[in-house]
């Protein structure tokens, strides 16, 4: 029952939001309350998975390989918890004001449909169902992205829609071929039977199709160009939601499907993924250095750091995958905070162009201190969470034969530091280029940012236990038999 709630709660909230009378304060309150309930349910689910192991619910009581099953292992439970946190932060920031036209068009309900799609994708144990949740997420994100009518936004939305639909077509093709050979779509059943039914040729084709489909969604090189072209255009809260959740759904799906279907670390797809991850890191950060607008800098940083989250899968050791899972958690928190902070700049200075920002340290010291945490956590400055996650990946890379990855990760860490130090320098240190009127910061916008910053600090302080949990999550992923037994029973 607990497993269905992260999907039912946002659905019920979205329906309620559509039926309620159109009063902004009421809608915002309901949306925020719904997000808090998701968070509560997700924490309860995580606690249950921690103590009792993998949780399984069979929808409609159909036995496992035939009906759709929902499965929560540690990795899924952790990510659903992040959905609750990010959902609460984003809906909470709407109290500070949303464009009234967007609000009239169902902004709050769409956010909850998006949260439902993401939770569903994290919890499903059926690969076709995963495709359906992807589409639910996509449609709501399409509408959220194109609610506005300015030309730049429409153009960005069209690129986003076209590329994501292409990814869906690739995913559907892979699922069709997989079903043709395996005769089942249940992930646990696939993990059990696929090793006997696979043929090398089909294995290679499928792994590349899945890599392309999930690579587009996650934003891997050379498939990421839609992301920096579109993420800077929607309002900051929507950008924060997309940056925090959407690419991570691609990363999650890649890790889940690859550990289930291709459990052979010698598979050539992992060499390809390793090289692509390394190039993604480098190209993303070089792109970030070339940008002058804060939200574009963040978009390229988002792409570059996706490389850190897939490199653990490519290295295929519990230490590396555990570090990548920790990196996913850290990155979801930090990038969401940074996009929300860019919203603060947008509110105060009407721009996120770094050249016309400045002097914020003098005018708003409290915000500067808040922003310092995510900026330097993303850059990987010790003792913040980004440093611990990067350290995990570098040490894991040095243990294996691919020690050059450690060099790439370190170089990219340095580039991130340069890129983030520039954001800090231009937005906060530099004297303000315009004699702008300094308005008081909207306190309601600062509260969710402050909450996320506290969580980032908590993640840094509790890094030991969290790393231990993500190591166990990685163990569960790399040894699929526990998952298979939980879903299919003793057979």
């Amino acid at each position: 029952m607990l497993l269905v709630l992260p999907i039912i709660v946002p659905l019920a909230t979205a329906i309620a939001l559509q039926l309620l009378p159109h009063r902004p304060r009421l809608l915002r309150g309901v949306a925020f309350a719904g997000a808090l309930v998701i968070l509560g349910v997700a924490v309860a689910l995580f606690a249950r998975v921690q103590t009792e192991g993998i949780q399984v619910t069979r929808i409609g009581s159909w036995p496992a390989p035939f009906g759709i099953t929902l499965v929560a292992d540690l990795f899924s439970a952790l990510l659903v918890m992040m959905v609750g946190i990010i959902g609460a932060a984003v809906t909470g920031s709407s109290f500070a004001g949303v464009d009234p036209r967007r609000e009239a068009l169902g902004y709050h309900a769409l956010i909850h449909v998006l949260l439902m799609g993401v939770s569903g994708a994290f919890l499903t144990g059926d690969i076709f169902n995963l495709y359906v949740w992807f589409e639910v997420t996509l449609i709501s994100s399409f509408v959220l992205m194109s609610l506005h009518r300015t030309r730049a936004q429409l153009h960005a939305a069209f690129i986003y829609v076209a590329l994501n639909l292409l990814a869906s077509a690739f995913l559907l093709t892979a699922i069709g071929l997989l079903y043709g050979q395996a005769g089942t779509l249940n992930l646990a059943d696939l993990a059990r039977t696929w090793p006997e039914r696979r043929t090398p040729a089909l294995d290679a084709a499928l792994s590349m199709l899945f890599l392309t489909a999930f690579g587009i969604k996650a934003g891997l090189f050379p498939l990421f160009f839609w992301l920096p072209a579109s993420y800077h255009t929607p309002p900051a809260a929507v950008g924060a939601l997309f940056a925090g959740l959407l690419t991570k759904v691609g990363v999650y799906a890649m890790i889940r499907v690859f550990t289930m279907l291709f459990p052979d670390p010698a598979n050539s797809v992992y060499s390809v993924l390793l090289v692509l991850s390394a190039i993604t890191m480098i190209v993303g950060l070089i792109g970030a250095l070339a940008q002058r607008d804060m939200r574009r800098v963040l978009s390229f940083n988002l792409v570059g750091h996706i490389g850190f989250t897939t490199v653990g899968l490519a290295l295929w050791t519990p230490a590396a995958l555990g570090a990548s899972i920790l990196y996913v958690l850290h990155h979801m928190l930090v990038i969401t905070t940074l996009f929300l902070i860019s919203g603060l700049f947008l509110r105060q200075r009407r721009t996120t162009d770094l050249a016309s920002l400045g002097g914020l340290y003098r005018s708003h010291p409290a915000i500067a201190v808040l922003a310092m945490v995510p900026i330097f956590s993303l850059a990987g400055v010790p003792p913040l969470s980004g440093f611990i996650a990067k350290l995990g990946i570098v040490t894991a890379a040095l243990e294996g034969p691919h020690y050059w990855v450690a060099a790439v990760a370190l170089a990219v860490g340095l580039l991130t530091l340069v890129s983030m130090a520039r954001v800090w320098d231009e937005a906060f240190w530099k004297p303000s280029p315009t004699k702008s009127v300094t308005t008081a910061p909207a306190p309601l916008m600062v509260v969710p940012i402050a909450a996320l910053v506290c969580l980032t600090i908590a993640l840094s302080v509790a890094a030991g236990p969290v790393f231990e949990i993500s190591r166990r999550a990685a163990d569960q992923l790399l040894h699929a038999d526990e998952y298979v037994r939980a879903v299919l029973g003793g057979r």
Binding site: F128, Y131, V132, E135, L138, I139, F142, V143, S146, R149, R151, A152, L154, H155, A157, F158, V161, A162, L165, L166, S168, A169, L172, T173, I175, G176, L177, Y179, G180, Q181, L185
Partner: protein
């Protein structure tokens, strides 16, 4: 039958991808819909085509050859419905892009809009 379906699916994929590489929005959308239909036919062909048999049988003692597999049909049905909704959305979006930019050439929109 599988061979014909495989060729049809391949042709749809080829045409869809070719059209997606073009610069005009209308062609891009037609390409997307061809691609979606190609993948539907691919699911049908890959899962095996059974002629003249019902998909659902009551008798428990049936063999694999005596009934058509209902799963690919339901998969295709689902993806047709999803594809229809997505296509409708993409058409409306393209219409709005065209209305605001006055052109359906992707490069022209980009130069002005960026």
């Amino acid at each position: 039958m599988e061979l014909v379906l495989a060729i049809v699916a391949g042709a749809l994929y080829a045409c869809g991808l070719y059209l997606m590489l073009r610069r005009r929005l209308a062609q891009l959308i037609i390409g997307l819909s061809l691609l979606a239909n190609g993948s539907n036919i691919l699911i049908f062909a890959a899962a095996g085509v059974t002629r003249g048999q019902p998909p659902i049988v009551e008798d428990a003692a049936v063999t694999a050859a005596s009934f058509a597999d209902p799963v690919p049909q339901s998969l295709i049905l689902t993806s047709i419905v999803i594809g229809f909704g997505v296509l409708a959305f993409a058409l409306v979006l393209a219409h709005r892009v065209h209305a605001s930019a006055g052109s359906d050439d992707i490069d022209a929109i980009r130069l002005d809009g960026d």
